[in-house]
Each structure stands twice: as C-alpha cells, then as structure tokens.
C-alpha cells in the first residue's frame, strides 16, 4: 500500500514537475504583484485628488507594499468569541485558493501556461474563479455579525445576478471561435487579423460591467460598502486573514482582466500583428520596438528623478530601478534585433503585450473606482436584471444572426465588420428602448407610490 502510494507520487511528479514549479512561482510572486497594484491604485487615487500618495517608504513610496505586508503579517489575529472558528479560519483561504487556481488556466503568452491546452480552457477559469464567492459568503456568516452577514448576502445576490450577463457576453465572443481552448481563441484572433472587441463591442461592454460587479469593485462594491456596512463581509477579519481577502480580490481582478484580454483584446498578440503581411503596411512593424522604448523611457525618467531624492539610500534605490528598466528594455529589444534571440520573440513579446493589456484593463477599473459614486443596492439589481441581462441575450442572438449572414456572404477578418456592426447598432437601439421602458415604468411606480402615500 505504502509503496504504491509512493509510486503514484513519483509518477505524478515525473509527469507534472514543470507546471508544479510554475504554480509555486506564481503563488510566491503574486502577493508582491498585488502589493504593487495596490500601490499604483493609491498613487492614482492621490493623483486624481491632487495629493502625492505614499512617499515615505522608499523613493516615491516604492517600498510601501513591503512595509504594508510586514505590518499585516505582524498584526494581532483576532477571532470573535461567538464566531464559527473552523469556517472563520477556512473562508479567506477558500477565497484565495479559488482565485489562484483559476490563474492556472490562463495563457500568458504562447509559451507560458500552467494547465497546458485544456479543452475547456475559458470555462475552467470562469467556473473556478466563481468559487471564491463561498469564501466571502461563509466568512460573512462565520463572523456572527450583522454587518458581515449583510455583506455576504449582498455578495451572493450580486454574483448570481451578474454571472448570467457575464456568461452571455463570453458566449457572444466564443461564437466567433467555436472553441473553448484559450490558445485556440487567441490564434483565431490572429488568423482573422481582428480582435473580437471590434466584432462584439456590446459583449465587451457587458463583460466589463459584469466583471466589475463580480470582483466587488467600486462602483459595485456593495458587499463591503464602508458607508453602510463598516467593511461588509470582512468587518471581523484582521491581520493576515484580512490580507488574504485583499489578495483574493486583486487576484480576481487579474483573472477577469485576463479573461477579457484573451477573449476580446487579442490575448498576447501585438496590435496589428498580421498587418506586415499586407503590402504597404510593413512600417507597422515599428510596434516591435515599443516595449523596449517604453522600458527605456521609464528608466530615463527614474534617472532624471534620482538627484532629487532626499537621502543617499533612496538615490541608490532609484538608480537600481532605472537599471532594472534598462535591463528589461534590452531583454525586450534582443529578440527583435539579434538574430540568435529570434526564437524567443513569441514568448517574450507575447508575455509583454498580455501583461500590458491586463494592466490597462485593471487601470481602467481604478479610474472607474475614483470617478463613479457607489450604486444603491436596488439600483445595482435593476441594472443587472432589467438592463444587462436582456441586452446580453439580444446581443448573443444578433451576433449569431450576423455570423450566419457572414458565412453566407463568405466574409473573413475585417470584412466581418460589415455584418457585425449593424448587429451592434441594432443592439444599441434595443438598449435605448429598454432604458426608455424602464424610465416610464419607474415614473408610473413613483406616481403610484405617491398616490398611495397621499391616500393613506
């Protein structure tokens, strides 16, 4: 018995040592990445409110995430007296586990994917990341506090409402590929030389809104609405457990951003990746130099800021950051210029463009957070059920019709826009009709309520 278990373990390790190693690397590095995403968010918030943001730890607050991590790890871990201890302990782990597990299905560039070529690719990522909701719901329940329970209830209602709209949006993009495999989805966008965001703009919009709601981000952050519920489902959590919830939220953001990038924004493809094959468009290949140029620009900016740092240590740190940027620039430049490094082009540049697009998507999330005030809960539900779900169903229908028309007319690539654009326009008209109906309905309801009030 023991030897057979041992054999099975050896067999397993032999077959899967590389993905396992990558998995461990991701789990180890992700907290650091999340820490820096938080730093970017705080800096952006400060910028929008005409402040400086974190400036003390490291030059321009560059070491703030590490200080925060140390603070969170050394904080006292409080478990409320009447809490359900086991569930309280389990819930944050569940949240993080689901988010990390769904990262395994993603393809960061053509070369780097942990769960290689799974047939159900995109469904795996979406389905497993949705399990994180149990962490929130059970955590809220186990805390034995009214605020936490309200947050948990809101969270599950919100997820169930918006999952449908997100799923429908994914369906209308998947109609173009006919496969769930992540690599094949990106390859299809390469073959057609067009990103699906052009072909299904309404679906992209629907997914954008639904993904904000699913990750509990502002303006839909009702499960933790601090003006109403203290901190929602994580009110009773402190220290490391709280930071696990935080980690899960940001990992989920990375997941939804990656799904949107893969399905709608061409995954790891460079903008205009196929255009160099057309006559007269060869000059678009200058985009190959953009990653390296971007890195060099950041490096030069760091060098320029170096003399302005107050202490010697900070100056050295700034120089080191500049050096890192230059090295990254060289790494990104090498596959374009040096013939020997050509085989690494797809892997390195694919990774760069993927991460670049994911960052832009997350950046957009942050913009929205600091721009739009929080929705009320009934507004959130009305938006989901009365607007997004009908809209996404109509969109799936019209995209399907457009695709059939396209196959009759034998259209490919950019020509598909001829049929999908009218479909998108009709969907928009339907959207306005829904909104008008909704407005009329609400006016009538308000009137009825008012007359009830005066009659009573």
């Amino acid at each position: 018995m023991m030897t057979s278990i041992f054999q099975a373990t050896i067999e397993f390790l032999k077959a899967f040592w590389a993905p396992l190693l990558c998995g461990v690397a991701i789990v180890a590095v992700l907290p650091l990445i999340v820490g820096y995403i938080v730093l970017v968010e705080r800096k952006l918030m400060a910028d929008m409110q005409a402040r400086l943001g974190p400036m003390r730890v490291g030059p321009h607050g560059l070491l703030q995430p590490i200080a925060d991590a140390v603070k969170l790890l050394t904080k006292e871990d409080i478990i409320p007296d009447n809490a359900d201890k086991l569930v309280f302990w389990l819930a944050p782990v569940l949240s993080v586990g689901a988010a990390l597990l769904s990262l395994a299905g993603l393809a960061i560039g053509p070369a780097f994917q942990i769960a290689q070529d799974i047939n159900i690719g995109i469904l795996f990522v979406v389905g497993v990341s949705a399990l994180g909701i149990f962490g929130i719901v059970l955590g809220g329940w186990a805390s034995n506090s009214h605020y936490s329970l309200m947050g948990a209830l809101r969270s599950s209602a919100q997820l169930v409402s918006y999952e449908t709209a997100a799923g429908m949006a994914l369906v209308s993009a998947l109609l173009f590929t006919g496969t769930l495999n992540i690599k094949s989805i990106v390859e299809a966008q390469n073959k057609e030389a067009i990103w699906f965001v052009m072909l299904a703009p309404v679906a992209f919009f629907t997914y954008l809104v639904a993904s904000i709601a699913e990750t509990n981000r502002a303006p839909f952050d009702l499960p933790e609405a601090e003006s109403e519920l203290v901190a929602g489902y994580m009110t009773e959590f402190s220290g490391f457990r709280w930071s696990l919830y935080f980690l899960a939220e940001y990992a989920n953001m990375i997941v939804v951003a990656s799904v949107a990038t893969t399905l709608f924004l061409g995954g790891w493809l460079r903008p205009f990746a196929k255009f160099h094959e057309l006559p007269g468009f060869h000059w678009l290949n200058f985009l190959d130099f953009v990653p390296a140029l971007l890195m060099v620009a950041i490096g030069v900016y760091c060098l320029q800021r170096t003399p302005k740092q107050p202490t010697r240590v900070q100056q050295i740190f700034m120089l080191a950051v500049a050096g890192l940027c230059f090295v990254l620039g060289l790494v990104l430049l090498a596959p374009v210029v040096v013939p020997v490094a050509k085989p690494f082009y797809a892997g390195i540049h694919g990774g760069f463009w993927f991460i670049f697009k994911v960052s832009l998507y997350i950046y957009f999330f942050m913009w929205l957070r600091f721009t739009i005030p929080r929705y009320r809960f009934d507004q959130l539900m009305r938006l989901g059920w009365h607007f997004l779900i009908p809209l996404s169903i109509v969109n799936v229908l019209l995209v399907g019709v457009a695709l059939i028309a396209g196959s009759y007319l034998n259209l490919h690539g950019w020509e598909l826009l001829l049929v999908t654009t009218p479909a998108a326009i009709i969907t928009l008209i339907v959207a306005f009709l829904i909104l008008a109906m909704e407005k009329e309905h609400r006016a009538r309801q308000d009137q009825a309520a008012a007359s009830d009030f005066y009659a009573g």
């Binding site: 077959a15 159900i120 389905g127 329940w141 599950s156 999952e163």
Partner: protein, 172 residues
C-alpha cells in the same frame, strides 16, 4: 496507478463528506460538506477525462445552485430551525429505501463482476490521446442526435421560469 489513486482519493472525500453532510446539526456545515461532496464528484469526472462534465458540475451545482442554497439558508432564521426535531421522522420509510438502494448497488456489482473482461467496476479512464475533444462531443450529441429532447427540455425550463416570475409578482 495514478488514475486509481486519484479515483480513491476523490471517492473517499465524496463519501465521507456526504455522510457528514447528513449528520451535521448545523445547516451551514451541512451545506459546506455538500459542496465538498459535489467538488469531489467533479474530481472523479475529471479523472475519467470528462472535462466538460467536470466544469459543468462546478459551474452549475457548486457555483450556481449551492450559492443559492447558502443564500436561502442565511435568510431563514436558523435558531428556530435548530430547536425543531430534524431527524428520525420516517424511520421505516428510510430503512426500506436504504435497503432497496443497497440491493440495487449490490446487483450492479454482481452483474458487472460477471461481465467478460471486466473486474469490479473501478472506472478506468481512456487514454487522453484517444478521446475526441470533450465539449465538441457533448455539443454534437446534444444538437445533432438529441435535438428534439433538448429543445423540449429548454421550453419546459422556460415555462417554469416564467411561471415562477408570474407567481412571485405581487401585483399584476
């Protein structure tokens, strides 16, 4: 070997958590063990290379239905429910059903043991390379071989959904 180990791993988890689900007094704990049992079953599907079933089990049962279960459990007043007698209402019916089920399973074991070329029904998976792509196969059988039943089922579901909405509406 690896397949067998994985099968027993997931099957063990499924059985243990199913038993715990029935015996726990706390409803939320029961729900957690039901989730575990469903996830373990999904694991067995995956071990059998039925990836599509695996993810459908997770998305529908765990991610959809169980979220609603937990939602409803939290809405009802647990303190009142805990004081009521929860078990042992219909001992004899339960006993008969259990014996019948055990008999059925026993017959299945017995007959499958007698089939030529098959031992005990430990499910052995086909090699991954031999299988056609999973979700495509499911789609083909649904939309080519069984189109009519599929459509009837979806119309039925639609009717049920509209009926639920109509009944839930307070005022016409």
């Amino acid at each position: 070997m690896l397949d067998k180990a994985l099968f027993y791993f997931f099957a063990g988890i499924a059985v243990v958590s199913a038993v715990l689900m029935v015996t726990r007094r706390n409803v939320v704990h029961s729900a957690i063990f039901l989730i575990t049992a469903l996830l373990a079953t999904a694991g067995i599907f995956l071990q059998l290379r039925a990836e599509f079933l695996f993810i459908v089990q997770i998305i529908l049962y765990v991610g959809g239905i169980m979220v609603l279960f937990v939602f409803v459990i939290m809405l009802v007043n647990l303190d009142v429910a805990l004081q009521q007698i929860q078990f042992a209402r219909q001992k004899w019916v339960a006993l008969i059903v259990a014996v019948a089920l055990a008999g059925q399973v026993g017959v299945m074991f017995w007959t499958s043991g007698k089939m030529p070329g098959q031992g005990l029904p430990v499910l052995t998976a086909a090699a991954a390379a031999k299988l056609p792509p999973n979700s495509e196969t499911v789609a083909r059988s649904l939309f080519e071989s069984y189109l009519l039943p599929f459509e009837i089922a979806s119309v039925l579901l639609l009717v049920a959904m509209i009926g639920a909405v109509v009944m839930a509406k307070k005022r016409a």
